[in-house]
């Protein structure tokens, strides 16, 4: 296709939009709402997942063994536990290491106070395994397994918010899918209407084009351009909004809840934004293209 032909089609598409500006704006606004909500849920879900992952990597299960159990048997048990597939990583903390850590944490700066225990580790028998999981939701099952093992004295785990987060995430995903689905239907309906109005307006012109020998592609192009431009508008507006909303919200939350700052981890904008831009553009242009394409096929049978 010639560049001049491309410009001509583009111009006709813009003309379509201007002639029917309110319908076009309504369509673009609906697509905007759709994509905005998508970006919003995408950010929320993405960030929660990000935090859960973070929590998962810092909160683990601690397994303590019977005090009389010799170290070789503890290590053998460790081998056995290590076979479980839900475990991402585990490390052994011997009684000595446990004591060393304890010393540096509680007698910080006054190590001489701990010297009295030098030859008699007060934490003898506190050898343990720290276990980290792939998925926090598998915690319950593993804990049950560990507690049933011969020689295990105690299993410490935090019934953390992480597991709750996960199911919250599922719920919000579902909700967003429903809302986005409804908005998508409304957007397609509006595009359909907009293009139908434009097609009625151009009916005579399309007919003349047909008789002059214009191809179907050429006859349909103003409408396709119209749809794609509306879709593009519908994608760009929420993307700009989302950029500011995201950066501001992250800053606000960090300030407001700085007590929780060791739990609040947000995906940096430069990591999440390109993904959002890609998906939003595909979504917007896709709705615009297919919405107009199928409408125009119905109206301009050639």
């Amino acid at each position: 296709m010639r560049l001049s032909t491309f410009w001509y089609c583009l111009k006709q598409g813009v003309k379509n939009i201007c002639r029917n500006i309110w319908f076009s704006l309504a369509s673009a606004a609906t697509i905007s709402a759709c994509i905005f909500l998508f970006c919003l849920f995408f950010s929320i879900i993405g960030n929660i997942q990000y935090m859960v992952q973070h929590v998962e990597s810092t909160v683990g299960i601690t397994v303590l063994f019977d005090e009389t159990l010799p170290e070789e048997q503890i290590l053998a048990l460790g081998e056995q536990i290590g076979q479980r597939t839900e475990i991402k990583s585990m490390n052994y903390v011997s009684a000595q290491e446990a004591w060393d850590t304890f010393k540096t944490e509680y007698f910080a700066g006054h190590e001489e106070l701990a010297e009295g225990f030098a030859d008699d580790n007060p934490l003898a028998g506190s050898a343990s395994y720290e276990i980290y999981l792939h998925d926090i939701e598998q915690q319950e099952g593993l804990v049950a397994y560990l507690e049933g093992l011969e020689g295990v004295r105690q299993v410490n785990y935090s019934n953390t918010t992480a597991a709750g987060f996960s199911s919250f995430n599922k719920m919000i995903s579902l909700l967003s899918l429903v809302i986005i689905g409804v908005l998508l239907a409304v957007a397609v309906f509006l595009i359909n209407n907009t293009i139908s109005v434009a097609a009625a307006f151009r009916k005579q012109e399309s007919q003349i084009m047909r008789l002059i020998g214009a191809t179907n592609f050429m006859i349909r192009s103003p409408f396709i351009v119209e749809g794609v431009l509306i879709g593009l508008m519908g994608a760009v507006i929420p993307l700009i909004g989302m950029y500011f909303l995201y950066t501001r919200t992250v800053v606000y939350l960090m300030e407001r809840f700085h007590i929780l700052s060791n739990m609040l981890y947000f995906i940096p904008i430069e990591e999440i934004y390109p993904l959002m831009v890609g998906v939003a553009l595909i979504l917007g242009i896709g709705i615009g293209f297919f919405g107009s394409f199928f409408t125009i096929r119905k109206y301009l049978k050639v």
């Binding site: 001509y8 012109e205 084009m209 002059i212 006859i219």
Partner: protein, 228 residues
């Protein structure tokens, strides 16, 4: 060369618009198709434009069998025909120049071709001075000239005109007919549908007459157009 052989056209409504029509039109001919309203004249042009399909029979235009033509070839085929209607069918929101240029734009002509050939065509139909005007600022005869310029801009081999003078007074009608004759003298085959006995008698030439879908006469009449 246009060969129409044993053509029947029955619309879905059961209306028999054409019955066993046989016509041959040689390259460079000027032909009138006469007949009262409803006799099937427009239907015949529609079949030639491949806007409608015959119920039976065969149409061959310049060695192309229309019934065997693949769909995607239809636009290319239509570019070889020019068409003009009684109601002009101009784009109301565009200037004379744009109306003519439109026909080139939609077939993807280059801007240079458009800049060169549109003024040339407007000169031919005698509208060079009015290229900036909108259709509603022109008389009926002038509007039809714009439509003719648009039909000819892509250099078709055949020009089909469906009652091109139906909305015009006699003087304007004769002038449009003379223009069509001129175009024909340039080598284009011209087929003109009309129901005006007066015009046909004045212009003369080959006249095909339809009546209720049947061809009832195909004869050459002597014109006396130079006497007016």
């Amino acid at each position: 060369m246009i060969e129409i052989s044993n053509i029947n056209k029955t619309y879905e409504t059961g209306n028999k618009a054409l019955k066993d029509i046989n016509i041959q039109i040689a390259d460079g001919e000027f032909v009138f198709i006469m007949g009262r309203s409803g006799s099937g004249k427009s239907t015949l042009l529609k079949l030639l434009l491949k806007e409608a399909e015959p119920t039976s029979g065969r149409i061959v235009v310049n060695d192309m069998n229309l019934q065997k033509m693949p769909r995607r070839y239809v636009p290319k085929y239509r570019r070889r025909l020019g068409v003009v209607f009684q109601d002009f069918r101009l784009l109301k929101d565009r200037s004379v120049f744009e109306n003519v240029a439109f026909a080139q734009r939609v077939v993807g002509a280059s801007p240079r071709t458009i800049r060169e050939s549109v003024p040339e065509m407007l000169k031919m139909v005698g509208l060079s001075a009015k290229y900036k005007m909108l259709p509603r600022q022109l008389s009926g005869g002038e509007q039809q000239r714009v439509a003719i310029a648009r039909a000819l801009i892509n250099r078709p081999e055949v020009l089909l005109a469906d009652e091109p003078t139906g909305n015009l007074d006699h003087q304007n009608a004769i002038e449009i007919m003379k223009l069509l004759k001129e175009i024909n003298e340039g080598g284009t085959t011209v087929v003109v549908v009309t129901h005006s006995q007066e015009i046909v008698e004045q212009m003369g030439g080959r006249v095909i007459t339809l009546e209720r879908g049947r061809l009832i006469s195909d004869e050459v009449k002597g014109g006396h157009s130079d006497e007016t």
